[in-house]
């Protein structure tokens, strides 16, 4: 009830206003109090957009009443990945605490500006941490009283866990030895840029042309990433975690992610699939949510990568072998000895041991004349194991693992 406390009288230019009109008018003044036009064109467009939107829904009154006065003078703008962002803190007048931050974003080649109000009651710890950061930068101290942590209802469908791990080495500088792996976790809310559940705290502004519709905004809020609109919450969770694993993994998986993730893929679940995963150009399907992991995703994305390197060609036994081999190199890179297609073989047989030696050789030296000489031998072994699955596929003409070689070159392996 900021406004009712602040503005007791309400007479403007000898015109008596109703209480309602008066509050709206004062709210607009408060909203613009710190705003100096023509300093920043993006900011001008935002302010004009908000005022236009205010005509229809009175958002400025709500904003001022709930949060107070925007501090336009200490806004922050940023442009990343062609997305313009403007952050404006809001404070109660005569207070030394910020109450919220307004975030405006405008993707490249779009007139639509999305806004969100980030406040301290947000469930996402990233948001509240960000507010604490703004508060400290602006006022030189944290919130008073300090932020408290409250248990929240289970929101598993919209949470994800971000993990960061470090290998800890101990000893003297010259003889450091690996000691243990230390990991930290952050549980954050999934981004829902256009959510409507916060009572007017988010939405879109009219475009500069003034005729934009309120219904704009990309579904799923995942611009550039795969279309995953058909996935349920479990599948989305697993897909996001698989993506994080691969993006935070070694160069091998990062390279595949960088090359394929933002190429208009569609990822879905199809329970009638005959295998755990399948790929056709631009489309990846999994049999169920639980069959989505870093390994399965990497295998299917590698097929997409093969198409990028070789052009779209029919699937062959050789292209399958290359995809399985690539996943084995990835596993070897992350110290996982459970290589893929040999898992069902006797793990202490000469075949499995020799295969691991071969993988290690490629991992250490890249493809050389000597290990390439055994490529056909291992392809034949692979087909002995996978004959029932891939026996009907054409063998293929290209026994050169061009896609893997590409990745190894990128990664300087």
């Amino acid at each position: 009830m900021v406004l009712s406390l602040l503005f007791l009288g309400c007479e403007r230019d000898n015109v008596q206003l109703t209480n309602d009109e008066c509050y709206k008018h004062e709210a607009l003044e408060l909203f613009l109090k710190d705003y100096i036009p023509r300093e920043d064109s993006f900011r001008d467009r935002i302010v004009n957009g908000v005022i236009a939107k205010n005509e229809s829904n009175g958002m400025i009154y709500d904003l001022a009443n709930r949060y107070g006065q925007p501090l336009w003078g200490i806004e922050r703008t940023a442009t990343e990945k062609s997305i313009n962002t403007l952050l404006v803190p809001i404070t109660h007048p005569n207070s030394d605490s910020i109450t919220a931050v307004m975030m405006f974003t405008q993707p490249a080649n779009s007139d639509s500006i999305t806004y969100r109000i980030l406040d301290n009651n947000h469930r996402d710890t990233l948001v509240t941490d960000f507010l604490l950061y703004c508060q400290t930068v602006i006022y030189g101290r944290g919130f008073n009283p300090n932020r408290t942590i409250k248990p929240i209802a289970d929101t598993k469908d919209s949470k994800l866990t971000i993990t960061g791990c470090w290998d800890v080495y101990t000893g003297s500088l010259t003889t450091l030895t690996y000691s243990y792996t230390f990991c930290t976790y952050r549980v954050v809310e999934l981004p829902t840029l256009n959510d409507d559940d916060n009572g007017g705290s988010s939405g879109t502004l009219p475009g500069s042309g003034g005729t934009g519709s309120d219904g704009g905004g990309s579904s799923g809020g995942n611009s550039g990433g795969p279309n995953t609109s058909s996935l349920d919450a479990t599948a989305k969770n697993n897909l996001i975690n698989a993506r994080i694993s691969l993006e935070s993994g070694p160069c091998l998986s990062k390279t595949i992610m960088n090359s394929t993730w933002n190429s208009n893929l569609t990822i879905g679940v199809n329970s009638s699939l005959g295998s755990m995963g399948s790929h056709s150009p631009g489309v990846i399907e999994f049999r169920s949510a639980t069959s989505i992991s870093d390994i399965t995703l990497l295998h299917e994305l590698f097929h997409e990568y093969q198409n990028k390197v070789n052009g779209i060609l029919p699937v062959t036994q050789l292209s399958e072998f290359e995809a399985w081999l690539f996943v084995d190199l990835y596993l070897w890179d992350i110290n996982d000895e459970s290589l893929t297609w040999t898992r069902g073989l006797n793990p202490y047989s000469g075949t499995v041991l020799d295969y691991k030696d071969w993988i290690d050789d490629i991992y250490e030296n890249g493809f050389t004349d000597s290990n390439m000489a055994n490529y056909t031998k291992w392809f034949n072994k692979f087909m002995e194991v996978k004959d029932s699955a891939y026996g009907d596929y054409p063998v293929g003409n290209n026994s050169n693992p061009g896609a893997i070689i590409n990745v190894l070159n990128v990664c300087n392996y």
């Binding site: 030895t177 005959g274 755990m276 989505i292 390994i295 898992r343 069902g344 202490y348 029932s388 699955a389």
Partner: protein, 208 residues
């Protein structure tokens, strides 16, 4: 002139003979590079395959079930890709199985000999032991009885916990490689990393 020609011919024949014998000898050596035999210990019989050129000796219990793959056939070509694998009950349990099998001085001795060991476990999707094998240096100092005792202790002390309840029948495996210097120091780097990865994976994916 003719005599001279014949002499050259004899000389050539001798060289060809030597080359031929060398090739045959090498062929024999190569075919004998990998040798299979059985060794008996107090607690059982081990199958053994050794290869000098690959510097390895593979031991496995003669009682291990053969042709396991027959029981685990699947039509799904990518079934194993969606299996997230295992982590072992505790990292220490693996070390303790070694410490129960080998005395401290014996571990020191084997570390001095630069003995390496790789253990392969055949498991099903639930983590049930189906077989175990040991890969050691060629000409290893480790005795068959020590291997059989280690196998016994590993079976008792180490269990494998699958990351997910996998609803399909699957034959799979878990491998650990180390050397006796790491065992002496109680620090098996690769195993630690592998276990850390698996525990991460268990937290990341919804697997019910």
């Amino acid at each position: 002139m003719k005599r001279y020609f014949l002499n050259i011919n004899k000389f050539l024949l001798r060289i060809l003979g030597i080359i031929l014998l060398t090739i045959i000898f090498q062929g024999i050596c190569y075919s004998q590079d990998s040798k299979e035999f059985q060794v008996k210990g107090k607690k059982g019989v081990l199958n053994c395959t050794e290869s000098k050129s690959k510097n390895r000796t593979i031991y496995s219990n003669a009682n291990n079930k053969k042709n396991l793959s027959e029981d685990y056939k699947t039509d799904d070509p990518e079934l194993e890709l969606s299996f997230l694998g295992f982590y072992i009950s505790t990292y220490d349990s693996f070390l303790n199985a070694f410490r129960k099998t080998f005395s401290e001085s014996r571990i020191e001795e084997l570390a001095k000999h630069k003995e390496k060991i790789q253990i392969g476990f055949s498991l099903n999707q639930g983590g049930e032991h189906l077989g175990m094998g040991f890969v050691l240096n060629y000409g290893t100092n480790i005795t068959p009885d020590e291997i059989l005792t280690l196998e016994e202790n590993l079976l008792k002390m180490v269990s494998f916990i699958p990351l997910q309840k996998f609803e399909y029948k699957l034959l799979t495996s878990y491998s650990i490689r180390t050397d006796f210097d790491e065992i002496r120091r109680g620090d098996i780097t690769r195993l630690k990393k592998m276990e850390a990865n698996q525990r991460e994976r268990a937290k990341l994916f919804v697997i019910e």
